[in-house]
């Protein structure tokens, strides 16, 4: 594009930002609240500056362009790394082949005097005797002392807890499964608590109680009654495919708009945001004045405009010609556009959201009005009052909501089958490679593991003890997570009783 236009836009954006900063300082010093019209003007400046900054950023000259020389350099570097990795791989493969050869030299044949058969290598290969490498532990049960038996018992437990599953999950341990369960629960809690608390704060503290808040409350309560498999289907369709696909590849060719039309959409969005916030400011009544129909009309217009603005912003994302996905280079292999840990935790967060909203709302409502008045009387703003008095006072209730959400989320299986739990995930979702926490990876989950062992395993007789053990483990894990949360709550209560908040 024309560099002159770019410079003009950049300069005017900088000027607007400077003006906003300067005016904000002036009003703060004089201690007077800007009157409605001044606030509208300031919002207009902010909105315009935001639009211009976006324009300047997206149209920056030379930004993100790739020169052929640079591309060749990168390709050369990549080739070096590739050849290194390949030689490493060849080494490892040679080692594996050597080990295999040794392993193939001997087979184990155990004579069972009654049946006279040997232990097969696999259930499906009855003619192949067992390999040496398949022996994990040798002991003679009848000659063990009670102490040794107990030691063996503990060792088996340790193996169960600390090792990877083997032989299609029917042998070995369940460590990655426990890990996946705990990680998923923690992630869902991290997502759902802030979301639920913000929603409850909006409903209780900011929204004007009326039709809209009632509708939202009804919707939240209904959300609690939706069957969990529905969340799974929703998560798969919305999070995995729609949002994940967008993150991977950006909006599809068919929905992208030409640059000019897209900027028109942006301008419309900014105008609507400005209109919505102006109507909102103008609908504020002066203290001590009654509510007039004019105020009500302005407030409703403002709400409608905010909804429209939200729609326009969504449309901006869907039609932008500038964004081509964060993982364009890996296409057509999906990175986030498939089932994974992130989408599973978001789905479960949605599932447990009503619990957190409801208990937080109750906790907020239970904070004594006299405390709020005391805080306002000291000259605190609304947000300061909420942050320093209301939220700490409601904290035990919020944590109760968190505990309930964790308990519900950790035991859910049905939605996970659709959005990310696997029978066998080759890698843990965390590793020492950046970004350390791999939210795009699939994971294993105890609940799903139990289902898999019980119904999908080739030898369900052999898997039955594992089903019992895994179930016990699931209960223990949930219990432990809950205990941790309950201890946290007790600590918070104690602290509140003794200061430092």
């Amino acid at each position: 594009m024309n560099p002159a236009a770019w410079w003009a836009a950049a300069l005017s954006a900088a000027g607007l930002v400077a003006a906003i900063v300067l005016t904000s300082r002036g009003t703060r010093k004089s201690g007077l609240k800007p009157t409605a019209s001044r606030r509208v003007v300031r919002r207009a400046a902010v909105v315009l500056a935001a639009g211009l900054l976006l324009f300047v950023w997206l149209e920056r000259p030379g930004g993100g362009t790739m020169t052929p020389a640079r591309l060749a350099e990168i390709k050369a570097d990549a080739a070096v790394v590739q050849s290194q990795l390949e030689s490493e791989y060849a080494e490892v493969a040679a080692k594996i082949a050597a080990v295999r050869a040794v392993d193939d030299e001997y087979r184990v044949i155990i004579r069972d005097p009654a049946a006279d058969r040997f232990a097969p290598e696999r259930q499906s290969l009855p003619d192949e005797p067992m390999r040496v490498s398949q022996i994990t532990r040798v002991f003679a049960p009848n000659t063990l002392s009670p102490g040794e038996r107990f030691g063996l018992y503990l060792a088996r437990w340790w193996e169960f807890l600390s090792e990877d599953p083997r032989e299609a999950n029917t042998e070995g341990g369940v460590f990655p499964v426990i890990f996946g369960t705990v990680l998923l629960t923690i992630l869902l809690t991290i997502v759902v608590v802030p979301l639920g608390v913000l929603a409850a704060l909006y409903l209780r503290e900011y929204a004007k109680q009326g039709v809209v808040t009632s509708l939202i409350r009804i919707a939240v309560n209904n959300l609690a009654g939706v069957p969990s498999i529905v969340y799974g289907v929703f998560g798969l369709g919305f999070f995995c495919y729609t949002v994940g696909g967008y993150v991977d590849a950006g909006p599809g060719e068919s929905t992208q708009l030409p640059t000019f039309q897209w900027w028109f959409l942006v301008a419309a969005g900014l105008a609507v945001v400005l209109a919505a916030s102006s109507f909102g400011i103008l609908s504020l009544r002066r203290p001590g004045e009654p509510d007039t129909p004019r105020h009500t009309a302005l407030r409703i217009t403002s709400t409608v405009a905010w909804i429209a603005a939200f729609g326009l912003v969504a449309a901006m994302f869907v039609t932008t010609p500038y964004f081509h996905g964060f993982f364009e280079a890996r296409l057509p292999d999906p990175t986030f556009g498939k089932r994974g840990l992130l989408w599973a935790s978001l789905t479960l967060a949605l599932l447990t959201l009503p619990v957190v909203i409801v208990s937080t709302e109750e906790a907020i409502a239970a904070v004594q009005p006299s405390l709020r008045e005391g805080s306002y009387g000291c000259g605190a703003s609304k947000w300061q009052t909420i942050k320093r008095v209301v939220l700490p006072g409601a904290m035990p209730g919020i944590l109760t909501g968190m505990i309930l959400a964790m308990a519900r989320g950790a035991g859910e299986v049905a939605p996970l089958m659709l959005v990310g739990a696997l029978k066998w995930a080759p890698e843990l979702p965390i590793s020492l490679d950046a970004p350390f926490l791999h939210l795009d990876r699939s994971f294993m989950h105890l609940g799903f593991h139990i289902y898999d062992l019980g119904f999908q395993s080739p030898d369900s007789e052999a898997a039955r003890p594992l089903v019992w053990a895994s179930t016990l483990l699931l209960i223990a894990v949930i219990l432990m997570l809950n205990l941790a949360a309950i201890m946290l709550r007790a600590r918070v209560r104690r602290k509140m009783g003794s200061g430092h908040f």
């Binding site: 703003s381 300061q384 320093r388 003794s498």
Partner: protein, 293 residues
């Protein structure tokens, strides 16, 4: 109490003008003119209340009150329960804004600036006033954090400044000796009287222009009450104090001026000595001597 003097009868004109007693007229919802003593004319007002009325949704709680609160003096608001004393006090720092459906009429001026002007920053206004409520309301935090709360929300975070202000305020509220070793303990562990003095410390820590006290002693024992009264005496040298009280002795001990309210109206307003010894209205005398109320 001081019953040695019978009240001198009100000016004959005033009596003649009113065919029934002022209380009866108020009860009948008729217009009344409050008795404002001439002694007030010599004072510079810090707070001027001009024809102020207030409605809760439908019910009117304050009827057309006009009074000037003198700077640097203690002014007591007395009157039977439900007559709108707390409402008037809470209107001064606009705490009534928080209640849905409250409407007002008339004006209030602080230092000549209109409190209810839309361009006034209500946060800043409240920072210039300290308020103590009928029931102690310490926050669920440590004693220290409670006291420095107004400074914290003002963005002060230097430990030394906070510690110094905290000690000064706690000493000012006559509670320093009792809590100095447990500043980091929860304020909820204090006794009711201690909590109330803590709230007073919180109200004075930011050095407000006006101190609003809504029956600060109603939850206290006589000794703590006495301490608070001494405290009000002391701080009245620096602040203007507006105090609501049901205790006539207290009003006569701590205040320089007294306003008698009844059913949302101002009845008589003047120097405390005059109100208690030579009130112009029979009703005022009846109320302050406990024969009415």
């Amino acid at each position: 109490m001081m019953n040695s003097m019978t009240a001198t009868p009100v000016t004959p004109e005033a009596r003649a003008e009113q065919d029934s007693s002022i209380i009866q007229r108020i009860q009948q919802g008729l217009e009344t003119t409050p008795e404002v003593h001439a002694s007030l004319a010599g004072e510079t007002p810090i707070l001027e209340i001009e024809q102020f009325s207030l409605w809760y949704t439908k019910a009117q709680a304050i009827f057309d009150i006009s009074m000037a609160v003198p700077r640097g003096k203690v002014t007591a608001l007395i009157g039977p329960s439900g007559c709108g004393k707390s409402t008037l006090l809470r209107s001064v720092n606009r705490l009534n804004d928080l209640i849905d459906g409250v409407r007002i009429g008339g004006r209030m001026l602080l230092n000549g600036e209109s409190i209810y002007d839309p361009s006034v920053d209500v946060i800043d206004l409240r920072k210039r006033m300290g308020m103590v409520f009928q029931r102690p309301n310490p926050f669920p935090m440590s004693i220290f954090e409670n006291v420095v709360y107004p400074l914290r929300i003002d963005g002060e975070s230097r430990r030394s400044v906070l510690a110094e202000a905290c000690e000064r305020a706690l000493r000012g509220a006559a509670i320093w000796e009792e809590v100095k070793d447990r500043l980091s303990d929860s304020a909820l562990g204090l006794s009711g009287g201690q909590q109330q003095r803590l709230c007073i410390a919180r109200a004075i820590v930011a050095e407000p222009d006006v101190l609003l006290l809504d029956e600060p002693c109603s939850a206290l024992d006589p000794i703590a009450t006495l301490r608070i009264e001494e405290l009000i005496h002391e701080i009245s040298e620096r602040y203007t104090v507006l105090i609501v009280t049901h205790n006539m002795q207290q009003a006569s001990r701590v205040s320089d001026f007294t306003a008698f309210m009844y059913l949302g109206r101002l009845v008589e307003y003047g120097m405390t000595r005059d109100i208690f010894q030579t009130p112009r209205l029979q009703e005022t005398e009846d109320y302050v001597t406990g024969r009415f109320g």
